[in-house]
Every structure is written in structure tokens, then in C-alpha cells.
């Protein structure tokens, strides 16, 4: 493939490539490029939003380049020394290593992780632990306070009077410095990382290296328009059950469907248009859900989630997702289970929670607490509110008494809305 062709392929879906000329030159040089992604080991789950960046990195791998994942263990082990953020306790060495292992397992669904020529994992404590005060002064001299306060999140917090601890100003430089020992050519990130990626360019220049290219991919919001979050049902983890992936994709609200096609598949703009117009919302949802659930059901997803892959699952493209049967068992099952649920049935398979006997009083437990322990509600208050709104079920029956007590002498099926189920079993 020529440099022009490679660039044309890589540009697809990118928000910005800064500067694009530099990427072109690097591609022309025919050397193996080092493509970096920094990962925060305090949040070790990878969702379909991260996959947008990771799938682009897979393209670099397919072109013969090398991906380097940098685990930001150094700062994770420090935590938040200002004590302002209670959600950031310091991690131990063992925790960061365990989380990194989990990362590698998860990204192994998207990246080629078995080939040392194309994949490397590094911990930034390796170099940041030895960084002295003199180097920190050199790094921090590269930007002014006003420039740092231009970063979106700092700007917002500063203008709203939300405290910014000075050590937070050091982290963009630490991330930038990560690009020095690995001689990074291309750093990947979402739009929220643009500032930090550009700092990396300045840092490399100060250390006499060729500046990296900042490769910015779009951020994927949840199917409900909110930020993807584990506490909401908009979070699609890449290692989730195919039926769960299928179900959550079928729930994507119509205004976000186009974006999901663009960011989560390799269909061409013309193909997306065709599916959206001819398939209608239901048909389009179905094509998206089959493609993506079908892809992530594999051990290693295909290089391209395109029409050919869709057809390889046994679906005919012509029907645009209208009722028809595929031949890939994993999507068949996911789809079958989805419809079972969607038509009011209770699925056979669902997450199970074992209740600790200490939670029971004379064999019973308050209904609100039960839902909360099962993870279907965030609090007892929320559970009670949902019961009053007739939004929760027990063994298929709509609940109406928020103060009810439930006997746990047998497994019980809890249900929230149409499609979220947990089976609670006595210990």
C-alpha cells in the first residue's frame, strides 16, 4: 500500500490529525511507526467507545506498525495527594499490574497482542519514578499557566471556582514525557485528550526528538446521549455477553444511530444511508446490533466490520435487517434471547447474584434493598420510587408495595423495565 493509500485509510473517522503532513511524511519514510495510547489503570474496563480508538490502532497494526500501550501506573500509585478527589485512592503495585493484565485481555479482542513486533505494553513508572526535580522544572517551563488554563476541563473548573490542585498541572507533562522514552510517532486519543497530545509534541521537541502526530478520534456518547457510564444502561463493555451487546445496541435512541454506524462499523457512508433509509429505524438497529455483537463475539474481531463481514454472519444484505435468519450461532442466540425479552418473556440466562445470609431477617429482606443489592437500582430510595412508578417486577409480576418484604427460600427473578434481569439465589 502506498503512503497516500495508507493515509486515506487512516483518515477515515479521524476528527483531527495534527499535523497531517507529518503523518504523511512518517508513512512515506517506510519505517515501522510507534503508535501510543495511554491508559489509566484506575478504570480498567474497556467499552465500545474506547474501541473507536483501538480499532484505528488495529489499522495501524495491519499496516505493519507497532502499538505501544502505556499504563499510567506512576500517577495511579500516587492517587490524589491533595485528597480532594475521593474517587481516586492510590493503587498498589499489584492492583495496577492486575488491571493492566485485564486491559491486555480486553484489548486482545481488537488489537493483535500476540506479536511482539506489533504490540508492546509499558508502565510509565519505569521512567517517571526516576524523573528528578530538575527535569520536572524543564518540562513545566514549556507551557504558561494561561495556556494550561485553556484546557477545556481546567478552564471550566477555574471559571466556576472549582479548586484545581497545582499537581494536576504536572500530569499533562508526565503523559507528554511518556512519548520520549518510547520515541512515539503517533499518539492516539479522543477529543478530550487533544491538549495532552499536543503537550507531548512540545516535550519531545524539548528532548530533541521528532515531534509525534496527535491523532484525534471522536468520543462516542451513550445511546441515550449521556456520557457512557457503568451506572447507566448505556455502557457497552467489549467483553460483555453478545446478547447484552445486542440488547443495548437495539436500545440506542434514533438520533444517535447514525453516529454509532460511523464510529462502530466500517460500513461506507453510502451503505449507512441505504440501511437507514430502506431498513427504517428497526431494520437499521438490527443491522448495527448484528454487526457489532457479531464482531465482539469473536476472540479477535475482524479487521473490518463491513458489509462482507455482515454477510459472513449469514445475513443477506438486501433485506436491510428485516426479519431473516443469520447462520452464525452466536448472533442467532443473542438475537433470539433479545426477542424473548422484548416480547415480555423472561430469559433463561441472566446474571445471578448470591445473597449473603446476613442480609436476611427471618428468611426475608426488604424489596428495595434486594433490588439495590442486585445492582438494578443505585439506592433503596431509587428502588422505592421505581416501585411507585410500577417500573420493577418480581418473578414477572409488577410490584406496587415499596415496603414489601420478600422471602428468599428459592431463587427469585428481579426485573427493571423491559429488559434488565437479575436472578437472586439464597446462599
Amino acid at each position: 500500500m502506498t503512503a497516500e493509500e495508507a493515509l486515506r485509510l487512516l483518515r477515515i473517522g479521524a476528527v483531527e490529525i495534527i499535523p497531517q503532513e507529518d503523518l504523511f511524511k512518517k508513512l512515506q519514510s517506510e519505517k515501522k511507526l510507534t503508535v501510543k495510547l495511554g491508559l489509566d489503570p484506575t478504570r480498567p474496563d474497556i467499552h465500545i467507545g474506547h474501541a473507536v480508538v483501538l480499532r484505528k490502532m488495529r489499522q495501524f497494526q495491519e499496516l505493519g506498525h507497532k502499538v505501544v500501550l502505556i499504563i499510567g501506573d506512576f500517577t495511579a500509585m500516587i492517587g490524589d495527594p491533595s485528597g480532594r478527589s475521593k474517587t481516586r485512592p492510590p493503587l498498589t503495585l499489584e492492583e495496577t499490574r492486575a488491571n493492566a493484565k485485564s486491559y491486555v485481555e480486553q484489548v486482545g479482542k481488537i488489537l493483535i497482542t500476540s506479536d511482539k513486533e506489533r504490540f508492546e505494553l509499558r508502565y510509565n513508572s519505569e521512567w517517571l519514578e526516576n524523573l528528578g526535580f530538575k527535569e520536572v522544572i524543564k518540562l513545566t517551563s514549556l507551557l504558561t499557566v494561561a495556556q494550561m488554563l485553556e484546557r477545556e476541563d481546567f478552564k471550566k473548573r477555574y471559571s466556576e471556582g472549582v479548586p484545581i490542585s497545582i499537581h494536576e498541572f504536572l500530569y499533562p507533562f508526565a503523559q507528554g514525557y511518556d512519548s520520549v522514552p518510547i520515541a512515539c510517532d503517533v499518539e492516539m486519543g479522543g477529543t478530550d485528550q487533544k491538549f495532552n497530545l499536543l503537550v507531548g509534541r512540545e516535550v519531545q521537541e524539548a528532548y530533541g526528538l521528532e515531534k509525534q502526530v496527535a491523532f484525534i478520534m471522536p468520543l462516542l456518547v451513550g445511546g441515550d446521549g449521556q456520557k457512557m457510564s457503568k451506572s447507566l444502561d448505556n455502557y457497552i463493555g467489549i467483553t460483555e455477553e453478545p446478547s447484552e451487546v445486542f440488547r443495548k445496541l437495539m436500545k440506542i435512541e434514533d438520533p444517535y444511530l447514525q453516529t454509532y454506524f460511523e464510529l462502530c462499523t466500517d460500513l461506507t457512508p453510502e451503505e449507512i444511508k441505504e440501511v437507514m433509509e430502506k431498513g427504517g429505524p428497526v431494520g437499521a438497529h438490527r443491522v448495527l446490533a448484528r454487526l457489532v455483537a457479531g464482531a465482539y463475539a469473536q476472540e479477535l474481531i475482524p479487521s473490518r466490520l463491513d458489509k462482507a463481514f455482515y454477510q459472513s454472519l449469514g445475513y443477506s444484505w438486501d433485506a436491510h435487517g428485516h426479519d431473516q435468519e443469520g447462520t452464525a450461532p452466536v448472533v442467532q442466540q443473542a438475537e433470539a434471547r433479545y426477542y424473548e425479552i422484548a416480547h415480555g418473556g423472561i430469559p433463561n440466562e441472566m446474571p445471578e447474584v448470591t445473597l449473603h445470609p446476613g442480609e436476611l431477617h427471618e428468611g426475608k429482606i426488604a424489596i428495595a434493598r434486594l433490588f439495590t443489592l442486585a445492582g438494578l437500582t443505585a439506592s433503596n430510595g431509587e428502588a422505592r420510587r421505581l416501585i411507585e412508578q410500577k417500573g420493577l417486577r418480581l418473578d414477572g409480576e409488577v410490584l406496587f408495595d415499596p415496603k414489601m418484604e420478600v422471602a428468599l427460600d428459592r431463587p427469585r427473578v428481579l426485573q427493571r423495565g423491559k429488559d434488565r434481569f437479575v436472578r437472586v439465589v439464597p446462599d
Copy 2:
């Protein structure tokens, strides 16, 4: 002396002692206190303004406590890595050591430097060179960006859009950290150092030490109301010739006379009032000049520049400085020379400058350049302007031609205004 008496003595002249209760407790503890002053080795001269702080430290020494001078060599050797400040090139190790030596020689006029129990010199590179990134993060987590931007100079620069490099935010923490290894009890500084001294308290607390007391002394402005500066004639170095000290003190503008008495002598408020009222401006100037020039003419200045010391110079207090003769030769000479100049004569002693032969063209040099090389004017332009205003003289004659050329076949006396002389001698 009781703790109460010591506190009463130390409080005299202080702007703020934060918190005073802590100082009282430390004095009560009867342990030997460590009293710190940080010095910037890039500006190795000590003037009568620094003496305000140093004389207070001498009082601590007289009470049995220990003074520790911290030479800020670590940051001086880094210079300004952002390259914004051209006036701060990095110093070499040799330069910082030479400047520190010069400091100790100069402060030896005020502090007791020969007794190791009461004086110590430390270089902060000793501990800052080994400070790692982790410690820097810990330190910088102690303050928020908004708090740092409350520091007067940062606040001003930020609001005026003058760039502040982020590494500048690190220096207050470095200075604060200097208080940790020496377990500082009291840090001294002028009002411009208040913020940094308070940072030292936070840093010590974070390292589990008893917090230091921030001891703030007033800043002395030049006798013309401007900041004391070597490029102006308002700068009184503590090792200058007694006649120069005398001359410059006689020039202090009347509105600043009271402040000079308060900050540079130990006369009581009543005595100052008496001198100012009965002596009138001329008499009061004379008393101040005799006291201070007489004091700094000594190898080690007396503990107290008070009435008794004035009398020890052979002057009678009653006359309030009206014409009379002292008996201390050094003040006699300084005074005699001052009047010689003041009455239009050319003094015998004055600074000499040797001119490099390369500056001469056919044995001559342009008059403006000559004044500038002699250090009496800041630029050739200023020299020409002053000649047009009839403000410069050559060998006693008023100059009128800014384009004149001067032969340097013999020593020539250059004069600016009434009282500034330089003798230029050919090489």
C-alpha cells in the same frame, strides 16, 4: 531574658509575625531556634534594605538562636528554562559558590558568622537535587492554582496577560521544602516573601514537622521613593565606602527620612521625634548618616545603632546633628569628604576606571561613550541628553557639546550632577 521580654524585643520593627503565639511558644521552649533566610545567588549584593532583615536576625543570634542562610543554588543553576527572562542565565557551580562566599563576607558585617553554634550556610541543591517527581507531586498538591494566583506578583502578571511559566509555580514549594531538612523554626523575609513563607508552613506540616513562624520585615525603598537599584543612585551597599554611605544618606528625600530612622537605626520613637523636630531636616539627615555610616564602617556593626552608639562616635546628642565634630576617624573622614563635594570641590578619592586602548581612535573617544563606559550614564543617548541639560562635567568644567571627542592622554575626572565622580585613566 524571659520569653515575654524576647518577644517584645523581636517584635520591634516587624510587619507581621505569623502566628505570634507560635513564636512565643517557641521562645518559651528554651530550645535553640533555627532562623532561616533564603538568598538568591544570582544577585550577590547586599544593601541597606537587606540589612533590615539581617539586623533582626542578629537579634535572634544575640538571644542565643541559630541563623541558617540557604543559598538557592539549585534553581540558580537551572536558570530560566522557559527562556522568557533574559536576565536569568544559569549560574555554574563555581559562580554560585563564589557568590555565596561574597554573601557570607558581606553579611559578616551584621551577623555573627564565626560561631558555628549561631551561624550555618547551606546550599539547597543538597536536597533539591535528589527530590523526585513523586515528592514534587506531593508538594504541589498542597495548594490550588487559584491560591497560587493570589500571590501578588502572579496575580498582577496574570491579570495583565504577562506569561507565567508553569515552572515558576514550583519555586515557592522548593523554597518551602528548604525548611524541611533544616527543621526551620522561624523564616525571615520582606513583605514580598509573605506568600512563600506561608507555603513553608504547609510543606512542613505535610512532612510531619512543627510549622515555622513567618517573620515579615518591611521592605526599605530607596531614598528617592523608588525601588533600590544598582542602576540608580539610591542603592546603599553595606560594604560601600563610608563616605559613599554618608553621601547617599544625606540625599534621602525628606518624606523617607522617618522610615530610614525606623528601619536602619535602633533609636526609640521618642528619640527619632526629637531629632526630626529639633535638628530639622539637615540635622536629622546628619544624625542618620553618622549613625549608619559609622556603624557600617565597623568590621561587625554594633548590636544596637542607638543613642549610646552615636555618642560612642564622639558626637554630643544634645546638638541634634548641628555642626560639631565627632571623634571617630572613619566618620570624620566620610563627613569631611562629603562637605568637600557638596561645596563644589572635586574629592581626592573616587572610583577609578581604566579604559581599554581599543576604545580609543587616534587617542580619542566620544564623550557620551566615555560617560557610559565609566558607568555614570546608562547609555550614550542618556549621556547626550544630560550634556544638553548641562548636567555633566569633565575636569570640573560643564560640558555643552554632546558630540565632543576627548583625548585620553592623561587621567580625566568625569562628574554627574553635584556628587558623582569617576576618574578615567588610560591603560
